[in-house]
Symmetry: C7
Subunit: 96 residues, 7 copies
Amino acid sequence: MKFKPLGARALVQMIEREQTTASGIVLPDTAKEKPQTAKVVAVGNGKTDKDGNTVAVEVSEGDVIVFARYSGTEIKLEGEDYMILDADDILGVVED
Amino acid sequence: MKFKPLGARALVQMIEREQTTASGIVLPDTAKEKPQTAKVVAVGNGKTDKDGNTVAVEVSEGDVIVFARYSGTEIKLEGEDYMILDADDILGVVED
Amino acid sequence: MKFKPLGARALVQMIEREQTTASGIVLPDTAKEKPQTAKVVAVGNGKTDKDGNTVAVEVSEGDVIVFARYSGTEIKLEGEDYMILDADDILGVVED
Amino acid sequence: MKFKPLGARALVQMIEREQTTASGIVLPDTAKEKPQTAKVVAVGNGKTDKDGNTVAVEVSEGDVIVFARYSGTEIKLEGEDYMILDADDILGVVED
Amino acid sequence: MKFKPLGARALVQMIEREQTTASGIVLPDTAKEKPQTAKVVAVGNGKTDKDGNTVAVEVSEGDVIVFARYSGTEIKLEGEDYMILDADDILGVVED
Amino acid sequence: MKFKPLGARALVQMIEREQTTASGIVLPDTAKEKPQTAKVVAVGNGKTDKDGNTVAVEVSEGDVIVFARYSGTEIKLEGEDYMILDADDILGVVED
Amino acid sequence: MKFKPLGARALVQMIEREQTTASGIVLPDTAKEKPQTAKVVAVGNGKTDKDGNTVAVEVSEGDVIVFARYSGTEIKLEGEDYMILDADDILGVVED
């Protein structure tokens, strides 16, 4: 099964990372802040501007992105958790 | 009887699926989350942009779509439950 | 007496239908949901777009339409109840 | 004294009508719904669109109109009550 | 000292009028409604539209105007009370 | 140190004036209304309109202006209090 | 690791400065106001206007900026605290 986001949206999958405090202690799940980093899985065609041209989404499949808190819609596809984000809620791309 | 959505709207029918937990237990109806997946039954002509051109809705009859929580208007046609969605509330299409 | 809606509006008259439950019981008035189906009685000239062209309302006199909950203004004309709807609140047309 | 509404506005005067119930009883003032019907007394020049053209108000002096509930500003001119309405809050014209 | 309003704004001075009830009784200050009539003292240059043209304010110095309730900013200039109004909150002009 | 406001903004410094009541009594600080008069210290380049042209801010360094209540952001630069105002919140200019 | 802000956004790092009161007392952390001054670390490509042209962000890497209270999203990159700001929330640039 595949999922194709519509318009200026992206399907992303959360990146769970071990969180270590400044003093080196690994935090249990309940003490973690909700992660805001995710990997892009699929991207919509972008939005159509008023002249009929399509403005592409700025991220691509595989990009690691940071997104705005309280944004996105969680969905479950074949038992895995994903999030559908509006392109405007993607704040930036983490480059290695 | 047929129903023709106006403008950038779609008439959809909810897809009820048996929900099974990670541990394999089938959930009764009351424990289910409200499904957000639906099949497109009819599509409006789209919206007219400021130059008088019509921007078609991105989904077609038969598409299985995921829609935003708390969106849409429920209606009953000939005893069956449907939902009328704004095209902007359709987040993406599930492709097999 | 006639009533001419202004702009992108329609005058409609509610359609009261006998409501029968799945098990065949006719519901009394107090148990009914407020109907959302109405017949179009008169239509405004539509709205003027930014180039001065008029965009007509998509429905015509006699159409049976479904409208959004909590929309419209109720008025009484010669003792009968009508509703004035914004064209944007008309969700679709029921075709026989 | 005369009053000239500015822009897309109209000065109207409420039409008080004797209200009779279905069973023929004339209602006292306190039992009446606030009337929503008014006669147009003066009309502004309309609004200027983005190309500098003026879009006239759709009603004229003498028209009997129905307006949206909770709209308008009440003013008193030479001891009489009037209302200033935005053209957008005028729902339609009653034609005899 | 002079005051020049910026953009689509006007500086006005409230007109306090003796208020007499229908039965001829002059009301003391505390029983009066706040007046909504004012005299225009100075007018801004208007707003610049998207083509760079200036759209003038529709009122001129000396006009007696009626303004929307709860609009405007009160200021004191050389001990006298004035109000700065957005042009959109000026409902109309009283002509003698 | 200098501060350059960005876009359609101005850096202003409040003008504290001795406030004297109608009866000639000089008010202590706590009885004063917060002043709404300020002197312009620096001005941004203005905002870019949709055709790429820059629309300059209407005030200049040294102007004494009146601004809308509850607008602006207070900042401290080298121990002195300033306020950064959006150009839209500057109501007018006091001319001597 | 590098972070590339998308669109009209900037990645900034807060500037913590010793705060000294007027009377020369250095304030402990808890008595400090949250600083609103930051150094720009990375800048997005700007926003695309309706003609498809890109409008660059007005600040550059290394600029010391003042930003609006309650704006921005805090993120942690490699153990250090940063903030992602919308370009519209950057009020001005501090020049030495």
